[in-house]
Amino acid sequence: MPQHFVAPPLWEWYIVWYFFLGGLAGGAYLLGTLLRLIGDPRDEGVARLAFLIAFPAVIICPILLTLDLGHPVRFWHMLINSRTWGLNFKYWSPMSVGAWALLIFTVFVTVSFIEALARDGWTRHPAARSVAGTLAGAFGRLFMVVGSLFGLFVAGYTGVLLSVSNQPVWSDTWALGGLFLASGLSVAAATLAILARSRADAASTERKLSRADRIFIVLELLLLAAFFVTLGTLAGRLFAPRWIVLWVLVALGTFAPLLMHRAPGAGRAGAPVLAAGLVLLGGLALRIVLVFGAQM
């Protein structure tokens, strides 16, 4: 068993919520992009919803990260060296890379948010209409694809950030980056499936999202299995009595949506919403137990 004598960094609720919202924002942006690129015209409404929901999720992220700092007013030190005024970028430090990725992704999300607002008719501001016009063609598709790459990075690097340490559990596995990404995709698909109900003519898109979510959940379960295999007996510290309820939520958030789909009456009103709600709860519970459990 690996030896660990480290102190915990005391990353707590701000970080848990950042991990959750970062995954949601990155996943939503990717799903919105894919719905537009390969979906049919009926998916456009939910694609816009994806960009609309990615924005508030990603805007909260830097606020959470800033509040978590011991010196919040020095948040800009993540990007700029306060001694030399040069840029701070260390490709081998996930926190450094992540700060830049989050900044760039936020720009993409903001632009796509404005475009979605304009297309949905929420604003008639000339600048917003100009943005929507600019993103209407091939450039817009390229823009979304590049934004999605940053979204995928933001959703997954948080797990890498934990692993690139000397903390017990976090640094003893290679599965966390993939696990957080799969969970983020699943949470995003579930959120969009719930929100799709607010759109007329989005029933087929909702079913597509539920189908995608089941694939993401299978991916998440595989990575969860890899996570436990790589940890070996060290995984025991994550199963202290105080974490059991959270693991139950994780199990409900993964197995229940898969089983509910196959159960009789799966199509009944309310069942898909319940399944999506469990995915969200499970995604949050996973991050809580992984962040807090390793530090205690």
Binding site: P2, Q3, L34, H71, G177, I215, F216
Partner: protein, 253 residues
């Protein structure tokens, strides 16, 4: 003038007087935490933002069935390959002209990534200042040709200070002396770990007994970069393919 300095802490000479702890707090104006009443004479518990030197009291069984104390004055190792420095996103952690590892208080923003990375639990978070703090190797004293306060105060010369090369020679000589006297379990710690530590320790037990990871476990955080990013990349590809499959099917079912 640039120098490469080091500590050599000989645990066989430590008497647990904690003069090093007191001198460190006094010189560095560290108020300390409220004393803890622990199992031994240790009332500070660990290295952290207020304890830049910490005397460990280790109770050990002896071969004849008795109990013996081992004391070790622990400190930041100022690793040649420093985990804290590796991850620090703000470049607040730098290497000084004395080849020591220093946290610049005006640059640190209190992200605490260094705390997650340090394998020796050296760095602590100061709630009042909002900064990560640890031993500075008495940077100000070094700049004025003074030796660190802990080494100055140590009454038994358990803590020695000097040029790193000189400390290595002294440590090797002391090890040879102890082994000649029949102390077969005597060993040096810090010659190879993390590219060579700037705080060498002479131990009389395996490193983990002193809460020091052995050579196999003394590893840098960056070891996990490639495999973790690769897993994320594979997951991303599978996730996108999964979404494409799901979205390409007709909406039914």
């Amino acid at each position: 003038m640039a120098r490469t300095v080091g500590f050599f802490t000989d645990t066989t000479l430590c008497i647990g007087c904690k003069a090093c702890e007191v001198a460190c707090k006094e010189w560095n104006e560290l108020p300390g935490h409220a004393p803890k009443f622990l199992d031994s004479f240790d009332n500070t518990g660990q290295l952290d933002d207020q304890n830049w030197r910490h005397v460990q009291f280790l109770e050990r069984s002896t071969p004849n069935g008795g109990v013996a104390w081992s004391m070790m004055s622990d400190v930041c190792k100022h690793c040649s390959l420093a985990s804290c420095m590796e991850v620090c996103p703000t470049n607040a952690i730098i290497r000084t002209e004395f080849d020591t590892v220093h946290i610049q208080p005006d640059v640190c923003n209190g992200c605490r990534d260094c705390i997650a990375a340090c394998p020796y639990a050296v760095i602590g978070f100061n709630e009042k200042t909002g900064l990560a703090q640890k031993c500075t190797f008495c940077y100000g004293r070094l700049q004025n040709n003074l030796i660190p306060a802990c080494a100055k105060a140590c009454p038994t010369q358990s803590i020695k200070f000097g040029e790193l090369s000189e400390m290595r020679t002294v440590a090797a000589s002391r090890l040879q002396q102890l082994q000649a006297q029949g102390v077969s379990n005597a060993q040096l710690y810090g010659e190879k770990e993390y590219g060579g530590l700037h705080a060498l320790f002479l131990l009389t037990d395996k490193p983990e007994a002193y809460k020091l990871p052995n050579a196999q476990n003394a590893v840098l955080p960056s070891r996990n970069n490639a495999r973790s990013y690769l897993t994320s990349l594979v997951t991303a590809v599978l996730g996108v393919l999964g979404a494409v499959v799901a979205f390409r099917q007709r909406g039914e079912g």
